[in-house]
């Protein structure tokens, strides 16, 4: 076994043909490669440049210095590309530093009719999230299909991350309101005409209502790949992370103790206090056994964890909470009634949390996600089922702007009765082998299953859609 592992490592790095598997965004790319993209003429171009040749180490040749300075020049040019808004597509948003407020006309009407009315807290009654801070009066373009929330004056309100993302990609021109600019008056909703720079937008939106730079990195990274991404209830630290979807689940038969942590304790107990039966006689017990099934059933006395059981509703601890719901580009998404998410993401800052989450942190995180059992399609594929698990969550680990995604699934080894599979012939064993009874697999059922699979999501290199 070891030999094959090592051979795999020793294989020469894949040459140009096999580059599909290497993720280009994993390392710094030579910006000269940008020159080869013909995005200037053809917007539908979806092929990205190949990985550029890099040198091993610097040497004092002029040749190398020239290439390096060309690379830097290309990077400089690419990064100094301005954010321009053609008059035909110019979408203007206005920054509302105090959250959603009704438009000026409605405000004056209100004050005339009920002057003594106390000022309502921002955002209530408008039907938009209270954290919104930019509104767009005349939204245009594809992006608003999945971004923002409209109020009853047909203005689209944007959350900080949405506003910042749109401004950053050059799709939105955000203006300072008059109240924030010099002697421009006190009106909070009036356009002062001064566009916010990228720098000003970062200062205004980053850190607002729980938007950390780590969360924003995850948000924009996935948006750029075409995913639709919305805030999940766990975004707000003070709120209970678990959402209401749990209670809807039909109560399943609770075979074993509570939760992932509970089963671990049970397993330890079992280790310290072994069943007396093992000392007194055969593990399978005395008596007649008419089929192997009987024996295996008796042999599986180690407690195991059933992830399909009702969760114990333990509190999730930040940052191990679902903060984003992700939808694949292919999932039909309606802003008014978002479908169940394709992925759930918790964002972790690796600088603050340097160790892997503890079993109880991970357990309560998984329990806060809705049950997502293996699908019908996987009914005959044991390993697919184990990989998929019964609950899953994606941990986005962010180190100063570099993001790694880990998919964590709650695998149910205990639910996969290998001996039954074998009897059904699912393992492709020959009939005669079965008759002889030389079956090695059932050992697997003896493994106490607290196992939690960790694997990288396959979808990381998802489609790169261009507009």
């Amino acid at each position: 076994m070891a030999d094959t592992d090592e051979a795999a490592i020793h294989q020469p790095s894949p040459d140009s043909g096999a580059h599909i598997e290497t993720d280009l965004s994993d390392e710094t790319q030579d910006f000269r490669m940008l020159n080869s993209i013909s995005f200037l003429t053809d917007g539908s171009q979806s092929s990205l440049p190949k990985r550029g040749e890099k040198d091993f180490e610097p040497n004092p040749t002029l040749f190398q210095a020239d290439i390096l300075s060309a690379s830097r020049q290309a990077m400089h040019n690419a990064l100094s590309y301005p954010r321009l808004h053609h008059p035909k597509h110019h979408v203007i948003g206005i920054y509302a530093p105090n959250g959603p407020t009704p438009p000026r006309s409605a405000q004056t009407l209100d004050t005339i009719s009920e002057e003594s009315q106390p000022k309502k807290p921002a955002g209530t009654g408008l039907g938009v999230p209270a954290d919104s801070c930019v509104y767009v009066s005349t939204p245009k373009g594809q992006l608003f299909k999945t971004i923002g929330q409209a109020d009853r004056w047909n203005r689209i309100w944007l959350l900080p991350e949405e506003a910042l993302y749109l401004l950053e990609r050059g799709s939105l021109d955000i203006r300072w309101p008059c109240s924030e600019v010099g002697d421009g008056g006190e009106d909070e909703t009036q356009d002062s005409g001064i566009p916010m720079s990228l720098q000003a937008a970062y200062a205004a939106f980053m850190g607002r209502s729980g938007l950390t730079s780590e969360r924003f990195s995850v948000y924009t990274g996935l948006r750029r790949l075409g995913y639709t991404i919305t805030r999940a209830p766990g975004w707000y630290d003070e709120e209970e992370g678990a959402d209401g979807s749990e209670s809807e689940q039909a109560p399943l038969v609770r075979q074993q103790g509570a939760g992932l942590a509970g089963i671990f304790g049970q397993f330890l107990q079992w280790l310290y206090k072994p069943e007396p039966t093992t000392a007194l006689g055969p593990v399978a017990g005395l008596g007649f056994h008419r089929s192997y099934d009987d024996i295996y059933r008796k042999l599986s006395f180690i407690p195991w964890y059933d992830p399909a059981a009702v969760p114990s509703q333990s509190r999730t601890t930040p940052p191990y909470r679902i903060v984003f719901h992700i939808y694949k580009p292919s999932t039909p998404f309606k802003k008014s009634a978002p479908p169940p998410p394709d992925f759930k993401i918790a964002v972790v800052n690796s600088r603050l949390h340097t160790t892997f989450p503890t079993l109880s942190q991970l357990g309560s995180l998984l329990e806060s996600t809705p049950l997502d059992p293996p699908t019908e399609k996987m009914s005959r594929q044991l390993y697919m089922r184990l990989r998929h698990g019964y609950r899953n969550v994606i941990l986005a680990v962010v180190d100063e702007g570099v993001v790694s995604y880990l998919r964590i699934a709650d695998s149910a080894f205990g639910k996969e009765k290998i001996y039954q599979e074998v009897m059904r012939g699912n393992f492709g064993l020959k009939g005669d082998r079965r008759k002889k009874g030389c079956i090695a697999q059932p050992v697997l059922t003896m493994i106490p299953e607290k196992a939690t699979r960790v694997c990288l999501p396959r979808n990381k290199k998802a489609q790169i859609s261009t507009e």
Partner: protein, 318 residues
């Protein structure tokens, strides 16, 4: 590529350090080997993650190093923006808007001329093809009108400017045209511009009360400073499970050589970590590097990169 005035202001926003000026980014990369991590979306190709744009995110270590060198200062960006915009005079505002407008008009002109150029090129190509086909045989004349249609449609209305030309409308060297009246341009002749930085209209220099003290850095800072002083370019090491990736030259052109992990001088290291790091490093053709500041008799001198010793571990058995 004008060199920015020193000290370069580093924006501190919500616990992170950002650079928004492309001149500062290029200058620090060229002169001080500080690369940071580009974390923004490139407006010209927004739907991909391979090439990213401004702002540049700096590690606290990088920000601290620059401040200690006297090249940069940390600025409380939220305060700067709030105070600055409030203090903006009517006159400055008008001047700023005029400037933006002239930039927008310039961009529009560049774009239209470029479109025109592309159109001409496309038409020329079609002409050439036509001529070629005509000389060969006149069997299939149908596809030509279709083709023409296609090309005529292809100049898209997305903001397209000459990306690689030197006269960038958004960069600093464009000066507003001298004789521009204050009357607003007729609709449709100027592009809206979202500038990357806030100066102008805000002043480049920050006042003393807007400045922040030295950034807090993790205990691995001595190793960072040491490797940097040895000429290495450093970047966050999450992708390889270490603290810093050390590049022998600019990461644009070179692969990294070391996976750096910092340790305290008296810290007990888990042998398994060394084996795992060594195997991983060798597997990806890099060295696994452990380093830390040596304890001197004088006692605590944290941040002194002179006393750092480093050890490189290679897995020889593979």
């Amino acid at each position: 590529m004008a060199d920015p005035a020193l000290p370069i202001p580093i924006s501190y926003v919500a616990g992170s350090y950002f650079l928004f000026s492309i001149d500062a980014v290029t200058y620090l990369r060229r002169e001080h080997h500080i690369c940071g991590v580009l974390s923004g979306t490139l407006p010209q190709i927004p739907q991909q993650n391979v090439f990213l744009g401004l702002p540049l995110k700096l590690m606290p270590e990088e920000a601290r190093l620059l401040v200690e060198k006297g090249v940069a200062c940390i600025v409380d960006e939220v305060k700067v923006q709030k105070d600055g915009m409030r203090a903006l005079m009517e006159e400055d505002r008008k001047k700023y808007l005029r400037e933006l407008e002239s930039q927008g008009e310039h961009a529009m002109r560049v774009q239209t001329s470029r479109k025109e150029e592309q159109r001409e090129k496309a038409l020329k190509k079609i002409e050439e093809k036509k001529a070629k086909k005509a000389t060969q045989a006149a069997e299939l004349p149908q596809p030509q009108p279709q083709q023409e249609q296609l090309v005529a449609d292809s100049p898209r209305e997305d903001p397209i400017v000459d990306l690689f030309a030197d006269d960038q409308p958004g960069s600093s060297q464009t000066q507003p045209s001298a004789s521009r009246t204050s009357t607003p341009a007729p609709f449709g002749t100027a592009m809206g511009v979202t500038p990357a930085t806030s100066y102008p209209p805000l002043p480049y220099e920050s006042s003393a009360e807007q400045r922040l003290p030295l950034p807090d850095v993790p205990s691995s800072y001595p190793l960072f400073a040491h490797l940097h002083s040895e000429g290495y370019y450093l970047s966050p090491g999450l992708r390889f499970g270490c603290q810093y990736l050390a590049y022998p030259g600019d990461p644009l052109r070179f692969h990294s050589h070391f996976l750096g992990v910092s340790a305290d001088w008296d810290e007990e290291l888990n042998l398994m970590d060394i084996i795992a790091g060594g195997r991983l490093g060798t597997g990806v053709k890099k060295g696994f590097l452990i380093g830390g500041a040596e304890k001197t008799a004088k006692g605590s001198n944290i941040g002194d990169s002179d006393t750092v010793r480093t050890f490189s571990i290679e897995w020889a058995g593979m």
